[in-house]
Symmetry: C2
Subunit: 385 residues, 2 copies
Amino acid sequence: MNDFTYRNPVKIVFGKHSIERLDALIPPSADTMLVYGGGSIKRNGVYDRVKKAMGRRKLAEFGGIEPNPTYETCMKAVEKARAEGIGFLLAAGGGSVLDAVKFIAAAVPYDGGDPWRILETRGEVVESALPLGTVLTLPATGSEMNRFAVISRKKTQQKCAFPSDHVYPRFSILDPQVTYSLPKKYLRNGIVDAFVHVMEQYVTVDVNTPLQDRQAEAIVLTLVETAGGVLSGQNDYETMATFMWCATMALNGLISCGCVQDWSTHMIGHELTAFFGIDHAESLAVVLPGVWRLCLNSKKTKLAKLAERVWAVNAGSDDEKAEAAVERTEAFFESVGMPTRLGSYGIGAGDIKKIVDRFAQSGTALGENADVDAAAVGEILRSRL
Amino acid sequence: MNDFTYRNPVKIVFGKHSIERLDALIPPSADTMLVYGGGSIKRNGVYDRVKKAMGRRKLAEFGGIEPNPTYETCMKAVEKARAEGIGFLLAAGGGSVLDAVKFIAAAVPYDGGDPWRILETRGEVVESALPLGTVLTLPATGSEMNRFAVISRKKTQQKCAFPSDHVYPRFSILDPQVTYSLPKKYLRNGIVDAFVHVMEQYVTVDVNTPLQDRQAEAIVLTLVETAGGVLSGQNDYETMATFMWCATMALNGLISCGCVQDWSTHMIGHELTAFFGIDHAESLAVVLPGVWRLCLNSKKTKLAKLAERVWAVNAGSDDEKAEAAVERTEAFFESVGMPTRLGSYGIGAGDIKKIVDRFAQSGTALGENADVDAAAVGEILRSRL
């Protein structure tokens, strides 16, 4: 087990009447700005519940955060927050809205010039942030209980992440009932996103972390068991509650304590989203099997463990089990209606070069062994055509 | 899944050189008092490492916290801390020292009269506490990452617990190397203590919490797998690290999110310790099988799950599996050298009455169904003679 530091101060308020507890969670004196996306919270009742819970308190609003939230839109919210002297940010939405609010929170007090520096320095320049809270409407990214945000820049077609202890939400409200109105595609994306989050922390080098391995397996076993019910349209409360908690636990830092992490699938996937606009989860389902096959040797121990513990493949050599783990995972993605090939999105061999070029320019070496270079990215993407 | 609120702000600093990071973890301006137990930290090197890490900073000291820390001893530390204007408490020891420091931290600023009120009100009167940090030397109680403390009072032979958000440690330092010098009996106690902590949160009413169930099973499966190595005397770093992290995860609030909890074994066990002085873990191993057998019907679903998932008992009816779970758990305790009968401690039938009387006086109804009354406690204890 590697040495580690772990601290996650987010207060989770989970359950049926959790939105109604908002007023007690936000400091009474704070001028609050509600930030949301394309307006789904006005159709599914979340907006009304938030307004009602806030009672007579003044509530500024900023709507229109897009999926893969952009720096350009966020900066408009930053200006508004600065102009109105906002003291607390309340995000109501999915991971995109939450990530946007984390960036806005860090950008408002930032006085070192263009806040894009926050992304360029991977959060190093962040010394403070407005306090923020969240009302989660889409189980997927885990943003509600972590210190990460991913922001895109339209002008340069970039998609960048930053971490900062200052952007942990003070609280996150998780009411499984708000998922009832989600389109099936969003639920499918959420299942795959949470699944891949666990894999980025699990299918790496084995450094003797048996408890953390089982904690990771607990999440994916439960996700796999629950996926059918989530997608059934039956809106069973227990099923949705379990799915929601799985997605949060998949990326709150706990299962990676003392472990080696990968994240190359995410880094390559971000470029697919930046250049071609495919959904984040869609990009992950395409890339993951390619990364695993390329790195099959170094990931063999963990892939074999995945095959045994999650996919109940107990026969065969470690090589055979590792291959089975890749196949079974691809089949799981397909079973929830998620394509696993670039061709499904009309992306062809000729489109790969500009992604490879970008990795070549930055000289990035991805993965837990820093051996996934630009050439390897090309090989991975060509294997997923 | 029940509604829940979860927040745990403790910073865990885990690994080989973690004690050496102390200075950076304590506010520079704080007058700090080191609190420890019977002096084992002076023999195992922890005291010297702490002093060295603190450099030239002033460090007051209070030693002599006993196992099952007493109100009487803690109050001497409270007086010293008040007299010397202490601003930060540093606990170095096992659960007893950590619990003592939590009580001292809450008692120092308490101005509502006798601080025993803190225990009488189960923490309700605690409005603030001195900040505290811990250097854990004995994996067992989970006190390093929770908001609970258990304090005994000599004069009245009472053992009481209190929770408070104000006594979460600011940080807890976990260096698995400090466990190398622990006597086998302490390690055995730690294994059983952590195991029973999980059981109090798992073997209850099934309210549809598949993720939390697997997270609980992850801990006990790993504890069972690791126990032999922990007790072998080989002091393998990886084994001790895994054991240490299991004990912390067993009682940091995570696995009980949305679940129903029991804790009757602890409540009855506390009385055995208060009256007869047997170790906390010893009391748990005696009581747990008795509670399970008495409540076999209401705990059947979870006991059967325990049998399947942890003890690999897949044949038989739920009744048979539940019975197997009790037997296998008792056998596990015995396998680590832990007695499971009152007779091992010279406690006989005639000793049970005063415990029953105390529960009768207070009118307590223990367990997740509040159906373990004084008569049931008598039945449980008589079944464990």
